[in-house]
């Protein structure tokens, strides 16, 4: 098993989970999308989950090698930015129907940190391998 396989596995997992969470968020439930829900997520938020999930799946299955490692780092950068912006404005300047809570912040942070770390490891692996190919 190579580090790159782990990067692919991670980003595929992130994509599947994001899409699943986004789609399930649309299913009518008396506790979802209402103000009295513990952690309500509006339709815009669900769409963003699905879109970023699709982006993650594209990285997992549409890229490879060093390109994939860089893309996984990029995904981490994207979620780091989302984490910071949503932390600063939990309703995203009034565009989210409901305030983001601690669970969502934790998901954003986890996606950012883990993607950056996994991408960085995969990148180092490939960069080292390419260097050794060049010197050989």
């Amino acid at each position: 098993m190579r580090t790159n396989t782990i990067a692919q596995g991670w980003i595929a997992l992130a994509g599947i989970v994001l899409i699943a969470v986004g789609l399930i968020g649309f299913i009518h439930n008396p506790l979802v999308g209402t103000g009295d829900a513990l952690i309500p997520t509006g339709s815009v938020h669900n769409v963003i989950h699905v879109l970023t999930g699709l982006l993650a799946l594209f990285i997992a299955f549409g890229t490879r090698g060093l390109q994939q490692a860089n893309a996984v780092i990029g995904f981490g950068v994207l979620y780091a930015a989302i984490f910071i912006v949503v932390l600063l404005s939990p309703t995203l300047f009034g565009l989210f129907e409901f305030q983001a809570n601690i669970f969502l912040h934790a998901i954003h942070l986890a996606l950012a940190v883990v993607s950056l770390a996994v991408g960085y490891m995969a990148r180092n692996q490939f960069a080292g391998a390419l260097n050794s190919r060049v010197s050989a």
Binding site: V21, L51, R64, L95, A110, V113, M121
Partner: protein, 230 residues
């Protein structure tokens, strides 16, 4: 705990748990496993240096975002200003077609078409925000600047800027700087494309001054077309 809270919590646990396992396994494998690079992987890595390709992917997605926003805004403008509102559909469709061509076969001509088209659209936007439209119930009254049109304008500005750099043939002479630029571009394209997707979704959900919510205007569009067909 609500169902949704449970799903979010579960997603968090899976993501964090999966990530920690992936990191742990990766750290172990990295030290133990012999380095393997298949020729195909090496080939893919070389293509990472194609900063130009990354630039075209970025402008294509920006154009798609702007096109979707224009198409979504069309119906409410059709209601407000009549036939002139068709311009939104024309511009939106043109931006989507241009994006498809940009992804498929970037060229110098396409770059100039993109620059010219987007400058024209931005100029029209600036005119309506400073002078106002010559027709409609609020003729010659400057429209308010909203989220959706700001985001579309931002995308168009991005397209113009990147394409101008591309057609200018700007080259970094230093090999080291070129390599760094290639790496930054290949990492940066994901947050940029992701940001475009997120901003487009937010723009579609935003309240547009003087119009219905953009997403809701799609419903107006369907009703309008049904009314016309009858």
């Amino acid at each position: 705990m609500s169902d949704h809270a449970f799903i979010e919590a579960l997603a968090f646990v899976v993501l964090l748990g999966g990530g920690l396992i992936a990191m742990g396994v990766g750290a172990v494998v990295r030290d133990r496993a012999p380095t393997q690079v298949s020729p195909s992987s090496a080939g893919a890595s070389i293509s990472v240096g194609s900063t130009r390709r990354v630039a075209w992917v970025t402008v294509a997605f920006a154009s798609i975002g702007a096109g979707i926003i224009h198409l979504a805004l069309g119906p409410s403008h059709l209601d407000a200003i009549g036939v002139l509102g068709l311009g939104f559909f024309v511009v939106g469709a043109a931006q989507l077609i241009w994006a498809a061509l940009a992804l498929h076969r970037p060229s110098h001509l396409l770059a100039w078409l993109g620059i010219g088209g987007n400058v024209a659209v931005l100029a029209a936007w600036a005119f309506t925000r400073t002078v106002g439209l010559p027709v409609g119930p609020d003729a010659w009254t400057p429209e308010a600047i909203g989220w959706a049109d700001s985001v579309a304008g931002l995308f168009e500005l991005l397209v113009i800027t990147v394409l101008l750099i591309d057609v200018s043939g700007l080259q970094v002479r230093s090999t080291h700087l070129r390599a760094v630029a290639g790496t930054v571009a290949s990492i940066g394209v994901v947050p940029i494309v992701g940001g475009i997707m997120v901003l487009t979704a937010l723009a579609l959900a935003s309240g547009e001054p003087g119009h219905d919510r953009v997403a809701a205007s799609l419903i107006v569009s369907v009703r309008y077309l049904r009314g016309r067909l009858r």
